[in-house]
């Protein structure tokens, strides 16, 4: 296989991995803070993408045509809107159910995800059809043999890396991050230390949902197309990626996301004319990994003292 082709595969894998990671990090944050699985995360991504699209269409119709401004507006509006949505979900759905078994919260958020998805399909005009997402990033590309290096892909990859690094910094170097980690470790002690539990939970949900919004917009920019079902598979894969990597660990989510993307790309390459089975291959490997390391590849260093 020539270098150009290999580079193209690697690029595809990296972009895919970045998308999965953004979703997986959200799952990991929510689990870390509240020990719950919020299954509507993938569909929050979809709503974020559609919010961005609606913003774009709205701004275009009032005559704004400067691309950087449009991109900024799309990002800002969808991030803020999804942060608000995340906080609403936390405040009215997740927090009241804290004392219920974790399975109940998983099921309820799963159902909420379906509601969000169907609302997009029903209330967005012609929501059932795939919608073109505008190309707001420069589309220049450099052709290196078989490999087509696109500027927009490189920018998105860099942004994704910056976001992950930023999140790490937030969690490790700021007081807010300290509060989040404290709540994640032990809720009761954190409260006794004077940390406002509700505020921290709401902020964590806001951050996670903002990441979903960025993921949704990135998805739209990468594929130039969004549809109401995009969050479903992304949610499942993001969740699996978070689990393989180790639920509760940000590094785990990153590892899981890129690992899953690598498996899918490998599957498509290694089974050239049976690429329909690449998902089967990827999930089978995930099952094998889970059997080997049930708590994930990066194990949680905290054990519960009963």
């Amino acid at each position: 296989m020539d270098v150009g082709l290999l580079s193209q595969y690697i690029m595809n894998g990296l972009m895919l991995g970045m998308m999965y990671t953004l979703v997986a990090v959200g799952f990991t944050l929510f689990f870390g803070v509240l020990d719950i699985i919020k299954f509507s995360h993938g569909d929050v991504l979809t709503v974020g993408a559609f919010t961005g699209l609606a913003t774009y269409i709205g701004l275009r119709s009032v005559g704004v045509s400067s691309t950087p401004l449009l991109l900024l507006a799309v990002l800002v509006v969808s991030i803020l809107a999804m942060a608000a949505l995340g906080m609403l979900i936390a405040r009215y759905l997740v927090l009241p159910l804290r004392s219920a078994p974790a399975l109940n919260t998983l099921l309820i958020t799963l159902m909420l995800g379906t509601v969000l998805r169907e609302m997009v399909r029903l209330f967005y005009p012609q929501g059932a059809n795939p919608k073109p997402f505008p190309a707001l990033l420069p589309t220049d590309s450099i052709n290196l043999g078989q490999f087509n290096l696109r500027l927009d892909n490189a920018m998105m990859l860099a942004t994704g890396v910056a976001i992950i690094v930023g999140l790490r910094l937030l969690l490790n170097r700021t007081k807010l991050g300290l509060a989040i980690r404290a709540v994640a470790q032990d809720e009761e002690t954190a409260r006794t230390m004077g940390i406002n539990f509700t505020a921290v939970v709401l902020i964590t949900f806001a951050i996670g949902s903002a990441l979903a919004a960025i993921g949704g917009v990135m998805n739209g920019l990468y594929y130039n197309e969004i549809n109401f079902g995009m969050g479903l598979l992304l949610g499942v894969i993001g969740f699996s990626a978070a689990i393989i990597g180790g639920l509760g660990s940000i590094y785990g989510a990153i590892l899981g996301g890129f690992l899953f993307a690598a498996l899918q790309t490998l599957g498509a390459v290694a089974l050239p004319f049976a690429s329909a089975y690449k998902d089967v291959f990827a999930f089978t490997v995930v099952i094998a990994l889970m059997a080997w390391r049930p708590t994930g590849l990066i194990q949680e260093k905290i054990s519960e003292r009963v």
């Binding site: 082709l5 972009m15 059932a128 919608k131 073109p132 087509n148 197309e225 004319f273």
Partner: protein, 390 residues
């Protein structure tokens, strides 16, 4: 009993008696007919268009004073998923009050349910699914179809590709019975004409990311990419082809003949090929009549590519019930004798497998954001050229 009570009693009894006379004199017997299509999910526009068309047929028939019966349409959603289709088909077929049904747009659902209709003796007319096996795998008297099959479609497709001088084709198809059928028939037709298939890739019908398959396709460098599947992934494949810099011609089937395909791609849709049984709705014999009546109902959705077939199927069912009465077995016998029956899609004749022999295949090319018939297009006359055309 007191006098007043007796008088009141007499009054009400008379009113009831007179009322009953009036009602029975005016009431027609109610008959239920069914419709099944994908009302939710990625191809719901086609299902909703089909449902509206079937509803239109029922409404027009109910407004007709000469009709013997009053019809009620029972609508069920198969979600374009075989497991759901089996459930709703069983529900409809098991309900003895529903006499016949116009069923299915998705081939995967239609093929899954033929055995159920046969088991319950429920007559159906398929209005949108093109997989040949639906009518040809078994000889079920209950199963009929008004639209054509994908065999003729793919013959014409392969012919056009070869005629335009394209020799190498990569096939991408979805892994449902629909996509696999297209792959099988197209490969056969192309091989007969000497074309070469450089690679075949199966993808799932809700797949989002095609970069892995398309990267391999790019390495194989075909002149044409044949796509056997439906609009949602057709849109994604075409737009991701552009992202990877693949310049091949996008050659689709009846699955992408939909307004959603053009809306989803914008300018990228230009130059895509597609094929369909029958003619565009306006050019059908009863097309103008159908479109006028459809517009008058002010539905939110257009009839889409197969709305006219759904109307014709429902109309044929209603005609049969008018003729022989609301009895499933009699309707089955009546439908076996359909020969040169006039309808808005032209003359319908069911062969011994219940298949309407619609020989006409229309070739389309997307030109200026519209599906234009190939012969009328600027590509055929040479003013515009398809990507890589000499």
């Amino acid at each position: 009993m007191s006098r007043i009570v007796r008088q009141l009693g007499l009054f009400f009894a008379t009113a009831l008696f007179v009322g009953a006379l009036v009602v029975t004199a005016q009431a027609k017997d109610k008959v239920k007919v069914g419709f099944i299509g994908p009302l939710t999910g990625g191809v719901s526009v086609n299902g909703i268009g089909g449902r509206n068309s079937a509803e239109l047929a029922v409404k027009l028939r109910n407004a007709d004073a000469k009709a013997t019966y009053e019809y009620e349409l029972v609508v069920l959603d198969d979600e374009c998923k075989p497991n759901v289709a089996v459930q709703v088909a069983t529900k409809m077929a098991a309900d003895k009050e529903i006499i016949a049904g116009a069923t299915h747009y998705c081939s995967a659902t239609a093929i899954a349910t033929v055995d159920i209709y046969h088991k319950f003796g429920f007559p159906i007319i398929v209005w949108g699914a093109v997989l040949p096996d639906i009518t040809y795998r078994n000889k079920y008297a209950e199963v009929h179809r008004v639209n054509g099959t994908m065999i003729d479609q793919n013959d014409v497709n392969a012919e056009l590709i070869s005629k335009l001088g394209f020799k190498t084709v990569a096939v991408i198809h979805d892994t449902t019975d629909y996509g696999k059928g297209h792959n099988a028939y197209f490969s056969k037709s192309l091989a007969k004409l000497g074309g070469k298939i450089v690679g075949t890739f199966g993808v799932t019908s809700d797949q989002q990311d095609f970069t892995a398959e398309l990267t391999q396709v790019k390495a194989l460098n075909p002149e044409v990419i044949y796509f056997g599947g439906l609009t949602p992934i057709g849109v994604r494949i075409r737009s991701q082809m552009d992202k990877l810099g693949i310049k091949a011609v996008f050659d689709g089937t009846s699955g992408i003949v939909s307004d959603a395909f053009i809306q989803g791609l914008g300018p990228l849709a230009e130059g895509a090929l597609a094929f369909r049984e029958g003619a565009s709705t306006e050019k059908l014999p009863g097309g103008k009549f159908f479109l006028e009546k459809y517009a008058a109902q002010k539905y939110d959705n257009p009839p889409e590519a197969y709305g006219a077939f759904s109307y014709a199927a429902m109309d044929l069912i209603l005609d049969s019930i008018e003729k022989v009465g609301p009895d499933r077995r009699k309707v089955i016998a009546e439908l076996a004798n359909v020969k040169d029956r006039d309808s808005i899609i032209g003359k319908i004749t069911f062969d011994d497998h219940g298949q309407n022999t619609v020989a006409l295949i229309t070739k389309y090319v997307v030109q200026d954001a519209k599906f234009v018939e190939w012969e009328d297009s600027e590509y055929a006359s040479g003013k515009r050229k398809l990507s890589g055309q000499k």
